[in-house]
Amino acid sequence: MNDRVRAALDGLKAETESGRLGAARELQEHAAELSIEAEREVSEAFATEKVPWVRGALAQVLDVGAPPIGVGHTIAAPRWDEQIEGADPAVARRAINLSTKRVLHEVSAVVGRARVAARTDLSDAYPASETNRQLTYLYELCQGLRTLASATVSPKLEEFDLSQEVSALAESVEGQLLVRIRPEGTPNFTVRADRSLLGIAVRNLLVNAAEATESLRTDNDRVVVITWGASKKAVHISVIDRGPGPAPFLARSSGAGLSTKIGHSGYGLATASEAMRGLGGEVQLTRNERGGATALILWPGLP
């Protein structure tokens, strides 16, 4: 990253409008050469910027690249099975489920033993070591695979109150992260779904939104809203955050394993998508006009 880009990224945090506008104009000049980390910083600034000219300039920076997730654009969330072309969806899911479990069976114990051995070998130096960082990442990957295995089981449909389910999930995620989650939907709302699969999808999207939001500067921005309802054909759940929004590379990439959050495996969105496919549904992602993202779950879940 060149010095001018670094200075401009720092300038996006300026107190004055003209300071931020100058920085945004500088970034427009270098939009084509921004790294993923720089794009993320621009996305964060865009999410909280409330001056039209600065926001316009930042939107142009984020719109560079083809095909971008421009402001207001929606894409289908990436999936695990999208590269298994022509396969029967149920067979593809079964394949993912079996292979994931097999990999986990082989790898989990090795990872666990490696972590114990590393802690012993490095002793006090372990917590701050690169070994710890990489092993933790490996552990998170295993956790992601474990969730994916759960997301690809055959669904067991039942009827339950979505409002209670969402409120419980919100409370659970809120407890883990320094973000307030506001459930706001129709009370006593009965849906038909696999409680576990839907839980995986909602939890992953909530965690994604909360993690995207928790680095924002003010308490008022660190809020995730989750709402639900139904149209004639489908039930919808929206998870709305004020974070940096989906990074432009998401639309250019082939799907799972990429994250806008540095240090995260990026499996959450793809796993949520896989879970909803099991229910005949899908997950869509939109970069909101005013910054942040809306992750939308849709499935034919009316009783």
Partner: protein
């Protein structure tokens, strides 16, 4: 400000007296009983404006129709201190019992609730009412007048600099001309020597010519003298006649002598004429010489004059060019000085604009904080959004005016500029004379940017820089999968958003006229009633309504039943919610009577909502 009492004398509500309590006051009554009239008289008595001018005119018309030639008195209190407003139909404005600086009650009719949602200024105003008065004072911006003054000075100085620069730009051309003129002047050095010689010759010959002319003149004068003499002699000869003498001898001698004398005279005349002839010959000779010399002198003089003229022209040209260069140098100096002064003024202006920006940031921060608190209060179901300097209408209007006559499609261009470039950024780009940057900023072709810049450079940007830029405020409702802003909401949804905003204000009384129109009962129960209930006990609300949920579920402190005999409206009863009169009025007027209510209840019992 709390409304304590209303008194009306004259008109449809003659002798009307009504005391209001804290908390929720509900006015009920059949249609035509005067509910809206009471509220409009409160508005008229307090001199409160409506949301739009048109609504304001309608409100005044209605109040005047109700009041006739009567008067309305509204008793209020601010922090416990009484404040009384009185107004007749003839008064332009109400008279207050004392001077006051306090927030006024908010009176909103149903139509106005919808209008607030659609009108950006009203939305900002509604948010402004929710900001603490101490913070409102901090939102004033005072530097605009000073910026305007600097811009006027800049305009004058830029014009002056342009003139000075134009003059200074002649320097190269003048230096070239001077160089050429000086070369010519150098060449004319040889001519000067020739000129001196010629001058001497002309001077000498002129002397000679003078002498010749003097000589010829003296000959001429001598000739004239001889002529006179001859003439005198001839006259003597002619005029001398003697009388006859008595002696012939004497006469003969005399005659002889006389004859001799005549001969002598004749001879003298002849001699004189000969002398004159000599003189004239000599004069002719001198004149001939003079004429010849004169020709030479004339010729030389002509040459001399020609030489002198050439030398003079080049000298004068050199002198004039040097003078002009001195003037141009002065203009050059002036242009540089003006550059410095302009730069200083721009720095000063920018500093003031920075201060203004700081004020605007502070104002935005206050609004944003208030907006975030409200969003939190509404549990994010309604999101109150504030964009700093988002209200660009005045800026766009200033651009439209500025671009008129530019031969550009200025309306679209002005809208594009207002959306994508800040006024300061535009001013700096024009001051830097940078068409490429302008093209990039506005996303327009380079050719169009050049034309735009050329037009802007010749016009003052003051109106653009000074166009008031305020924050834009919008309300968004969580509807289905995502938020929708007021513009995209249905009429009922707009009320859903606006009513809780109006009721969030607790310092001043809020007066609502039939807010239930366009609203379903579910909203009234979930949002309106709960918003009323959430107000603290001291937060006064006066509502005229036909919906029983408002007084009953809102736990009204007072239910006022209005009635009319067709000619006059009056208070049929006023009391607590559970008073007999209130219960009777609610069950009959609002629920359609106990029997209807019982039937409905029975129906609901038979058909439970599972």
């Amino acid at each position: 400000m709390r409304i304590d009492r209303l008194e009306v004398s004259g008109g449809f509500l003659d002798d009307f007296e009504l005391d209001f309590t804290d908390g929720l006051n509900v006015l009920i009554g059949a249609r035509g009983a005067g509910k809206t009239s009471v509220l409009e008289l409160i508005r008229f008595g307090l001199g409160l404006p409506a949301i739009t001018e048109e609504a304001g005119e309608d409100a005044v018309e209605q109040a005047l129709a109700v009041l006739g030639d009567g008067a309305v008195t509204v008793y209020c209190s601010v922090g416990g201190d009484p404040l009384v407003f009185t107004r007749t139909g003839f008064d332009e404005a109400p008279s207050a019992s004392r001077s006051y600086r306090a927030g006024m009650p908010l009176i909103v009719s149903q139509n106005e609730i919808e209008q607030i949602g659609l009108d950006p200024m009203s939305r900002r105003e509604i948010l402004g009412r929710l900001i603490a008065p101490s913070l409102r004072a901090e939102m004033e911006n005072t530097s605009r007048a000073e910026v305007a003054s600097i811009e006027r000075r800049l305009e004058v100085q830029r014009e002056e600099r342009e003139e000075a620069t134009e003059e200074a730009e002649r320097k190269a051309e003048l230096l070239l001309a001077l160089e050429e003129a000086e070369k010519k002047q150098k060449k004319s050095g040889a001519t000067l020597k020739k000129l001196e010689k010629l001058q001497l010759e002309v001077a000498e010959q002129s002397d000679q010519l003078g002498q010749l002319r003097a000589a010829a003149d003296s000959y001429r004068q001598a000739g004239e003298g001889i002529d006179d003499w001859v003439e005198e002699l001839r006259e003597t000869q002619v005029e001398r006649s003697l009388p006859e003498l008595s002696s012939a001898a004497a006469e003969s001698q005399v005659t002889k002598k006389l004859s001799k004398a005549e001969d002598l005279i004749e001879r003298a005349v002849a001699e004189l004429e000969a002398a004159r002839s000599l003189v004239l010959d000599a004069a002719g000779e001198e004149n001939g010489k003079a004429t010849r010399l004169q020709k030479q002198v004339t010729k030389k003089t002509e040459s001399l004059e020609k030489l002198q003229k050439g030398a003079g022209d080049i000298g004068r040209r050199v002198s004039a060019l040097r003078q002009e260069l001195k003037a141009v140098a002065a203009q050059e100096k002036r242009a540089k000085q003006l550059d410095k002064e302009i730069a200083k003024l721009v720095v000063k202006r920018d500093r003031l604009l920075d201060e203004g920006e700081g004020d605007a940031e502070a104002r935005y921060a206050i609004r944003k904080k208030c907006a975030d608190e409200l969003t939190e209060r509404f549990n994010h179901r309604i999101e109150v959004r504030v964009d700093k300097s988002g209200e660009v209408n005045a800026y766009e209007a200033a651009l439209v005016e500025l671009l008129q006559g530019s031969n550009l499609r200025y309306k679209n261009l002005a809208a594009k500029l207002a959306q994508s470039v800040s006024p300061r950024e535009l001013a700096h780009t024009v001051e830097a004379e940078d068409p490429k940057r302008l093209a990039r900023l506005c996303d327009i072709p380079a050719d169009r940017a050049r034309k735009l810049l050329a037009h802007l450079e010749t016009h003052s940007l003051s109106p653009v820089l000074l166009a008031p830029l305020d924050d834009s405020v919008d309300f968004a409702l969580l509807d289905g999968q995502d938020y929708k802003v007021t513009h995209d909401l249905s009429m009922g949804q707009r009320c859903t958003v606006v009513l809780p905003m109006l009721l969030a204000e607790e310092r001043e009384a809020v007066v609502l006229d039939q807010p239930e129109d366009h609203l379903d009962n579910a909203f009234i129960v979930e949002t309106l009633v709960s918003a009323i209930a959430e107000r603290s006990e001291g937060g006064q609300v006066i509502v005229a309504t036909h919906n029983a949920n408002i007084p009953v579920l809102g736990e009204a402190m007072q239910v006022i039943v209005l009635a009319s005999d067709g000619r006059r409206g009056f208070v049929a009863s006023a009391g607590a919610l559970d008073s007999d009169a209130s219960v009777h009025a609610i069950t009959t007027l609002m629920e359609g009577g106990r029997e209807a209510f019982a039937q409905r209840a029975e129906f609901y019992d038979e058909h439970p909502d599972e």
